[in-house]
């Protein structure tokens, strides 16, 4: 006899959230299972609003959220199983790092708050500075202290909003390993980030958000492959746009070209390294001068837009 399948740790069902006329999250449905999952998207994509809604800090305008099979909003008891780390860096800066973490343990009703705080500070490698006031901490140290306070009660679900923000590369690697280990232990960890490389370090599964909507969900490597395959658009100002466009097409370096009324050339290519080699070579062969070469869609937003369309 097989039992009913257990519900996902987080079940988001048709959730929208708007503030006045501004829609921050639009009809998002997703499920999060144990392990590390990333909520990826550019700034303003609605990641923080969705995380805050999952944490019960704000009510969805529409839709429903269940955590561990129960509604989260107004269900304070459920917080015993959840650790939430907000995006902003505010802390009670008159406390020491250790006091802050121990306070979190006490508020969670941990039996041995002192011992739990010691273990949490060790986990984030901050024991040496634990008795200093938080107002004297660097941004990275604050971030690690907040992470320690988030996991001090050993929760089954961690909601981490941009947890690596403000940390240096060594700390980032360390915290990435800590988060990975916690995921391997069977916890559910939902981590938000707008940095692709950060997500690569942290998570295998991602939910991609763009413009308040869930644009894609799935395996990180598959999404990354799509990213590598995306076409690049480059603007070229040259003394002879028509000749250069024909030369690049003939060389097979571009898949399409466009020349506007001012004579500016825009080329589109799937192979960025071939394009990089071909532009100067073709220009030299044709005797045309290159005045300006500028990639047009290298911004993070354009990357996300492309992935979303895919």
């Amino acid at each position: 006899m097989t039992g009913a399948p257990s519900p996902p740790t987080i079940a988001v069902d048709g959730v929208s959230k708007w503030f006045g006329g501004v829609v921050a999250v639009s009809d998002v449905s997703l499920a999060v299972e144990p392990g590390v999952t990333a909520l990826l998207g550019p700034n303003g994509a609605g990641k923080t609003t969705l995380l805050r809604t999952i944490a019960g800090l704000t009510a969805p305008s529409q839709g429903q959220i269940n955590v561990f099979g129960e509604p989260i909003r107004g269900n304070a008891r459920l917080n015993r199983r959840i650790g939430y780390m907000p995006e902003h860096e505010s802390v009670y800066d008159f406390l020491t790092g250790r006091e802050f973490v121990e306070l979190s343990a006490r508020l969670h009703g941990v039996a041995d708050p002192g011992g739990a705080a010691t273990r949490a500070m060790e986990t984030v490698a901050l024991t040496e500075a634990e008795n200093r006031k938080l107002r004297g901490y660097s941004r990275g140290m604050r971030q690690r202290t907040r992470l320690a306070a988030t996991l001090v009660h050993d929760p089954g679900l961690l909601l981490l909003d941009e947890p690596l923000s403000g940390t240096d590369p060594v700390q980032r690697l360390h915290l990435g390993n800590v988060i990975g280990r916690l995921g391997e232990q069977g916890r559910t960890i939902l981590v938000s980030s707008h940095i692709l490389e950060e997500v690569e370090l942290l998570a295998d599964r991602i939910h991609l958000m763009v413009g308040g909507k869930l644009a894609a969900s799935g395996d990180f490597r598959a999404i990354r492959q799509q990213l590598n395959d995306r076409p690049f658009v480059v603007r070229i100002d040259t003394t002879d746009a028509r000749a250069l466009a024909a030369g690049l097409l003939a060389a097979g370096a571009v898949e399409s070209v466009e020349i506007d009324a001012k004579g500016t050339l825009r080329v589109r290519s799937q192979d960025v390294s071939l394009l990089q080699r071909s532009i100067p070579a073709v220009a030299q062969r044709l005797g045309t001068r290159l005045l300006r070469v500028e990639p047009l869609d290298d911004s993070l937003e354009s990357v996300f837009e492309y992935l979303a369309q895919g």
Binding site: A55, G56, L57, T58, A59, G74, A76, R77, L78, N79, R80, I82, Y84, P86, H88, S90, V91, Y92, F94, L95, L103, S104, R106, L107, H108, G109, A149
Partner: protein, 236 residues
């Protein structure tokens, strides 16, 4: 609840406002000392009543409780640290009640003690009068704490609204308009003093029982409103 209480005491006592609170709380003792030094035809009883009614209950007590009450939650809302309390497995009343108690300890207690000491100094050791004054002021402080703590959580310009309440409602409207003259925390506090020591503030118009019920209603009502607000608000 002890963790929230201790945290709030440290927040309030460590703020710059606490120096202002101490300065304001010291004024009744200063006024009492001046009475002992200066020559005057006013009797100690008259002067003591005047200090209690006009200086402490009308100005110092509401101002001190306003200064602290609006930041009890207000600072955590504006600096976004409130999230560290609301994401814990705590029923909302277990956040509001210890915060109210902390506000009472840091703001109400110094004013009540100062008011009591001032009476003892003016009346040269009248312990009964001092305790009655301290008790009445503490009752008023509890009611003010509930009102201003709710205001700090619910109103965008809580300090301005509180000043309007203190100087328009309490000082003018409730003092002179018959229809609402018993809807005043100041009147409740003074009536409790009179109830505890019948020789003080003999013009108090409310019985001690009614005044105590008034204080309890304000305390319970605004505490309930703060709990409701905290449960329903979007925590920043």
């Amino acid at each position: 609840m002890r963790a929230v209480f201790t945290l709030t005491v440290r927040q309030l006592a460590g703020s710059r406002r606490s120096w202002l609170v101490l300065g304001l709380a010291a004024l009744p003792i200063l006024a009492a000392a001046l009475f002992r030094i200066a020559e005057t035809t006013t009797t100690p009883r008259e002067y003591a009543d005047e200090i209690t009614a006009s200086l402490v209950a009308s100005a110092i007590l509401p101002l001190v409780m306003l200064l602290l009450g609006v930041v009890t939650f207000g600072n955590e809302v504006s600096d976004r640290t409130l999230v560290y309390l609301t994401t814990k497995p705590l029923a909302r009343w277990r956040i509001v009640v210890p915060k109210l108690a902390a506000t009472l300890l840091v703001g109400g207690l110094p004013v009540a003690v100062s008011g009591a000491v001032a009476i003892a100094v003016i009346e040269q050791g009248d312990l009964g009068g001092a305790l009655a004054t301290g008790g009445g002021l503490l009752a008023g402080a509890a009611a003010y704490a509930a009102i201003f703590t709710w205001a700090g959580l619910a109103l965008r310009h809580a300090l301005v609204a509180g000043l309007v309440y203190v100087f328009v409602w309490e000082a003018v409207l409730a003092a002179y308009l018959d229809g609402i003259r018993f809807l005043s925390v100041r009147r409740f506090a003074l009536s409790v003093v009179n109830g505890l020591d019948a020789e003080r503030l003999t013009d108090a118009e409310l019985g001690a029982g009614a005044a105590t019920v008034g204080v309890l209603l304000v305390l319970a009502g605004f505490t309930a409103l703060a709990v409701r607000k905290l449960a329903r608000m979007d925590v920043p």
